[in-house]
């Protein structure tokens, strides 16, 4: 089906759940007013990014009042949002929820936690163990959180699981200034979203935050990429934005006819070779 997605390119406050929930509610309202069927927020929109020892303090269980409030709002518009989840056994996950029609439809726990350069996620967070596509009003969807997207296998698995739309929730720090037009991190991501869409004949809906935490900027530039890899709409760089993109079923259908790579993708060959590699590596 055709639909309008809103990419809420927001600026969360570090460790301030109540303020961020109010910010998210306001963006949800705006999405409803603009006639969007779906609103996507960045990674850790409810908490901010460089949490460090704040992780246990801002973590929420799935039945918390804050999550319930967002579930309630999803009666009017579907919502994808990032937060810190605490499980019953007190593991903390960098997680994303998909809420629709007043219910939690999907929980994705970030699998690839970057712990290099300026990142330190594995120190504070537990790793997710699943990559699963799910059905939504807008077709079959896969959710990735930021670094997940940099592991080829993650979007590949989701696409093989039938996803035709990938949501990527991101808190990407801006870095790598050169004489080029964009920061190194910006141009790398733009290549990645376009290439992923093109490889997998999938739409990519990328939502990145803005603002600064301890001198680190987040560069924004949220975008909707169609299944041919063309960017249809892109948000402002380094500024708050509310990006509305019209997503047409026709573009997906036509791309899948023109470039049927996913149709021709061989699961048996891939599995056979990966099993061989797994066996050889175990030796």
């Amino acid at each position: 089906m055709d639909f309008t997605v809103a990419l809420a390119q927001v600026k969360p406050k570090l460790g301030c759940i109540a303020d961020n929930l109010a910010m998210i509610e306001a963006a949800v309202e705006k999405g409803i007013q603009e006639g969007a069927g779906l609103v996507i927020f960045p990674e850790l929109a409810l908490t901010g990014y460089f949490l460090k020892d704040l992780v246990p303090e801002v973590a929420l269980p799935l039945d918390s009042p804050e999550i319930m409030r967002l579930v309630e709002l999803s009666r009017h518009i579907s919502i994808a949002v990032g937060f810190v989840e605490v499980s019953r056994d007190y593991r903390f996950f960098n997680a994303a929820l998909y809420l629709e029609d007043g219910a939690i439809r999907h929980l994705h726990r970030k699998v690839y936690l970057p712990t290099y350069g300026l990142f330190d996620e594995q120190r504070y967070l537990a790793r997710g163990e699943r990559l699963r596509a799910f059905d939504s009003k807008f077709g079959r969807v896969g959710i990735l959180v930021c670094e997940d997207m940099w592991h080829l296998s993650a979007p590949y698995i989701l696409a093989m699981d039938g996803a035709t739309t990938l949501f990527c929730l991101s808190s990407s720090p801006g870095r790598g200034i050169t004489a080029e037009e964009s920061l190194g991190s910006t141009s790398a991501w733009q290549k990645l979203t376009a290439t992923t869409a093109m490889f997998l004949n999938c739409r990519v809906l990328y939502c990145n935050r803005v603002g600064y935490e301890d001198g680190v900027n987040f560069w924004g530039g949220s975008e909707a990429v169609d299944p041919s890899g063309s960017v249809t709409v892109r948000g402002k760089i380094l500024e708050e934005d509310f990006v509305l993109a019209r997503i047409g079923e026709g573009a997906l259908r036509r791309e899948r006819i023109f470039s049927p790579m996913m149709r021709d993708e061989s699961l048996p060959i891939t599995m056979k070779e990966l099993r061989r590699i797994e066996k050889e590596r175990a030796c």
Binding site: F50, K52, L54, I177, T178, A179, Y212, N217
Partner: protein
């Protein structure tokens, strides 16, 4: 084009945004900084005026009796061009009173004392005006340790601490810093005729080309030699970076508990902001 050349418009946007957000998110609207008449503080003042509005930036010019009069003229020229408020506070009485007790003190002790005297004045103005102190140390100086700990290295926010001196020059052109300030030789201005490059024994442009490859690109010593850098120059600079590292860290805390500040007790400074 040098490897250090940057997209100055993009850099300007990032640094202006940095000052605006990091100042206002703590509930403050103003900034204060020391204007030396040199390019680093001129650039920071220009960025701050754009970020906060010139009416929210206050400059202190703090000459000592041996300072070059041209420095104050350049500071005044810049402040007037930006439309920021400007005040001259002589540090000669305080510094001379102290060294009256230690007349044999060498130039290094005197220079450090002057830098720390200026720091106390800036922090007093910070309290008096509810304004954050902006730092003006660039990445080249910070890496070489060419600054006074708790003196000119002290600040609440440093917009230019991740850009090299060569990039300070480029961004200053973009910001419209007066030509006289851009073109003059960098100097700590502790005594007449002193220049940074004479004292360091190499030029900023030379050392920036090395530091960028050594620090930012993590080239190995062998790679740097292959690129044409003299081994003695590489070793000299590596030594300076290593031996000044203490200046870039908080004081070392003796650990006895299970949760020591900055070791297991880790929070961003923007905690709750």
């Amino acid at each position: 084009m040098s490897i250090l050349t940057v997209n100055a418009k993009l850099l300007r946007k990032i640094l202006v945004g940095f000052i605006r957000e990091e100042v206002t998110k703590v509930g403050i609207s103003r900034a204060v900084l020391g204007l030396s008449g040199g390019i680093d503080s001129a650039l920071v003042a220009s960025l701050a005026a754009e970020a906060l509005g010139p009416e929210n930036v206050h400059a202190c010019v703090m000459p000592y009796r041996t300072s070059n009069p041209e420095s104050e003229e350049h500071a005044r020229l810049l402040a007037e061009q930006l439309g920021i408020s400007f005040e001259v506070i002589e540090i000669t009485p305080m510094v001379d009173a102290y060294f009256g007790l230690f007349p044999d003190a060498d130039n290094m002790r005197r220079g450090n004392k002057m830098a720390r005297e200026r720091m106390t004045i800036l922090y007093d103005h910070s309290a008096a005006q509810s304004a954050l102190v902006l730092g003006t140390s660039n990445k080249t100086e910070l890496l070489l340790g060419y600054g006074t700990l708790h003196g000119d290295m002290a600040s609440a926010l440093n917009p230019i601490g991740d850009i090299y001196k060569s990039q300070v020059w480029q961004l200053s052109e973009e910001m419209g810093v007066p030509r006289a300030i851009i073109d003059k030789k960098p100097s700590a201005d502790l005594w007449a005729g002193q220049t940074d490059e004479q004292e360091l024994g190499f030029t900023y442009r030379e050392v920036d080309e090395l530091l960028y490859r050594m620090v930012d690109l993590r080239c190995s010593r062998e790679e740097l030699v292959a690129l044409g850098f003299a081994p003695s120059f590489i070793d000299l600079i590596y030594g300076k970076v290593q031996n000044s590292h203490f200046k870039r860290r908080l004081p070392v805390i003796a650990k006895v508990s299970n949760r020591t500040i900055d070791r297991e007790f880790r929070y961003s400074r923007d905690w709750g902001k």
